[in-house]
């Protein structure tokens, strides 16, 4: 087993030195449309995420945020440029990555327990050990006693917790989150943000977090990246110097420094959002 093997017991989380940095250089992704034309989703994206850093990507709809994540995970291959994880160029599925989507990607035909233990099972962990691990993770996300339920029997917030446990159980070096809380109501969202921050503090994977919600981006991350739309490029990068641990995301929203940063980022984002809106409005007219 090599040193990159993400199969580790969660009780002894190895911290930042174990998390992998992400180095994206000149990343371009073109798609072939069904008509045979090429469509450039992202162009020349260069971005560095330090090991253990929480990086949020904000941008107007359709600016290639999800495309960027797909290249980092290795689910897709870049058309030009490169993605390196832990100083290794991504070629095929990146090891030690977990994904969390907006739509909860849970197996409707598996119980809560089955959904969480799929991660270790796919890595070859014996079922018995995987079950113990999964039970432990369900306890950590506050779902002890719900092991035998099916996803449709849970509320939206509970399903998110299951997805979170399933994403973190393999102790990933990199956590890719594609608007994970986008579909939740405001209160549930705040609770989930706090829980995510707590778990992140414990495990310290590197995080790429896509969101539309500027408050969420500032409250959670160390770095906020603004992307422009069609084709997606990076416009600005803001370092968020709010002290950690952040504590309650609801509280932090009222602090002076938060509002200052949020204002700066909004200035940068506003033009992009307006431009993207006018483009789509023009296309619709």
């Amino acid at each position: 087993m090599n040193a990159n093997n993400p199969k580790r017991p969660p009780e002894v989380p190895e911290r930042a030195e174990d998390a992998a940095g992400i180095d994206i250089v000149g990343l371009t992704k073109r798609y072939l449309t069904p008509k045979g034309e090429t469509f450039t989703a992202i162009r020349d994206v260069t971005l560095k995420v330090e090991p253990g850093q929480f990086c949020a990507i904000v941008g107007p709809t359709g600016c290639g945020k999800s495309t960027t994540l797909a290249q980092v995970s290795g689910l897709e291959q870049p058309s030009a440029g490169s993605v390196s994880v832990h100083d290794q160029i991504v070629d095929g599925i990146t090891k030690g990555v977990s994904y969390m989507f907006q739509a909860d990607a849970l197996f409707p035909w598996k119980t809560v327990l089955g959904n969480v233990l799929i991660g270790p099972v796919l890595l070859g962990t014996p079922k018995r050990e995987a079950t113990v691990l999964a039970r432990d993770w369900l306890r950590r996300v506050g779902l002890a006693g719900f092991e035998d339920r099916y996803p449709h029997q849970l509320s939206g917030g509970m399903r998110k917790r299951v997805a979170m446990a399933a994403a973190l159980i393999n102790n990933p070096r990199i956590l890719l989150m594609d608007e994970p809380f986008g579909a939740l109501d405001v209160q549930t969202k705040a609770i989930m943000q706090n829980e995510l921050l707590q778990l992140w503090e414990e495990l310290r994977p590197s995080v790429l977090f896509i969101t539309h919600d500027l408050d969420e981006a500032v409250a959670l991350s160390d770095k906020v990246v603004i992307m422009t739309s069609s084709p997606g490029t990076i416009k600005d990068v803001f370092a968020i110097d709010l002290p950690r641990p952040r504590g309650d995301v609801q509280q932090i929203r009222h602090e002076g420094r938060f509002l200052e940063l949020q204002g700066q980022i909004w200035e940068s984002l506003k033009d992009e959002v307006t431009r993207a809106y006018n483009l789509s409005a023009g296309a619709a007219a």
């Binding site: 990146t94 035909w109 598996k110 796919l122 449709h152």
Partner: protein, 292 residues
């Protein structure tokens, strides 16, 4: 619901809850009774009307049969048997052909459906041909099978399998196409091999579609076996039907239809049981939940 209604004066909340429960149960019983009364009335109108029209002579019972005479033929079939052995032997042959055809067609349909559904290149190459084969009247293949393989059981199994195959195949194919790509991406990132993706995501996801198709598929299996028997056989319900047709005996034809209908309903019930045990993860049907 019980918590939102203000308790009446003097009545403790739990007593009121019990009362509500009881009245809900009464409403449900009443509804069910009326459904059954409606069903019985419909049967009486149709069968009774048939009997009445034929005995009054408005409809010729020589061509269209009569319920009482169908019953007599049914009793005759069971007690006296047929020219080709007892009714049970014949029924056994037909059911055997249908079941073999059903199993064969389902197996091939599921495997090919999942294979083509998950391989884009293969599906684009083979797709048009499948559509062509699907648009030809496959029942005619029965004639070819009988010429090629004789009057035995095999050509019947084959025709039933061909009919079943297309129903199951298209459902399996579509089921694989409808798989949530997020789920596939998720397990691939977690390190799943293509085989593991199939086991954990594709097949369970397509299962809903496949099982839904089995209900129709068994009906097709019976049709295939019967038609092939009508086209040429030494034993089987289809042979009894074609024999009865030759002797202008609509009552026996109807009696055979009744027997086959009972068999198909039984198979349907078994498939329903299978469906419930395999798909127990599904949220309860909306209409079932609203029955209260």
């Amino acid at each position: 619901m019980t918590t939102t209604t203000a308790p009446r004066k003097g009545a403790p909340a739990h007593e009121q809850a019990a009362e509500l429960q009881a009245s809900a149960r009464r409403a449900m019983t009443r509804r069910k009774t009326w459904v059954w009364i409606g069903r019985a009335a419909l049967a009486v109108i149709i069968v009774g009307g048939w009997q009445w029209f034929t005995s009054a002579g408005w409809v010729d019972k020589f061509f269209f049969g009569q319920p009482t005479e169908i019953w007599t033929s049914l009793v005759n079939l069971v007690t006296q048997g047929t020219a080709f052995g007892t009714i049970w032997e014949n029924l056994g042959i037909t059911v055997q052909e249908a079941i073999y055809g059903f199993l064969l067609g389902t197996a091939v349909g599921v495997v090919l459906g999942i294979l083509l559904g998950s391989n884009r290149y293969l599906s684009e190459v083979v797709g048009p041909y499948i559509r062509i084969v699907n648009s030809i009247p496959r029942i005619v293949l029965g004639s070819i099978f009988i010429v090629a393989f004789g009057l035995g059981v095999f050509p019947k199994v084959l025709l039933a399998a061909v009919l079943v195959f297309f129903v199951v195949f298209f459902n399996a194919f579509q089921g694989v196409r409808e798989v949530d790509q997020n789920l596939v991406g998720n397990v691939r990132v977690l390190g799943a091999s293509p085989l593991q993706v199939a086991i954990h995501v594709t097949i369970p996801s397509a299962m809903t579609w496949i099982i839904a198709s089995l209900h129709t598929a068994f009906g097709f299996a019976i049709i295939g076996a019967l038609v092939a028997e009508v086209l040429g056989a030494q034993q089987g319900i289809g042979l009894i039907i074609s024999q009865a047709q030759g002797t202008f005996d609509p009552n026996t034809v109807f009696a055979c239809m009744v027997i086959i209908a009972i068999v198909t309903l039984g198979a349907e019930y078994l498939i329903g049981l299978l469906e419930r045990s395999l798909l127990k993860w599904r949220p309860p049907n909306r209409s079932e939940a609203q029955a209260v």
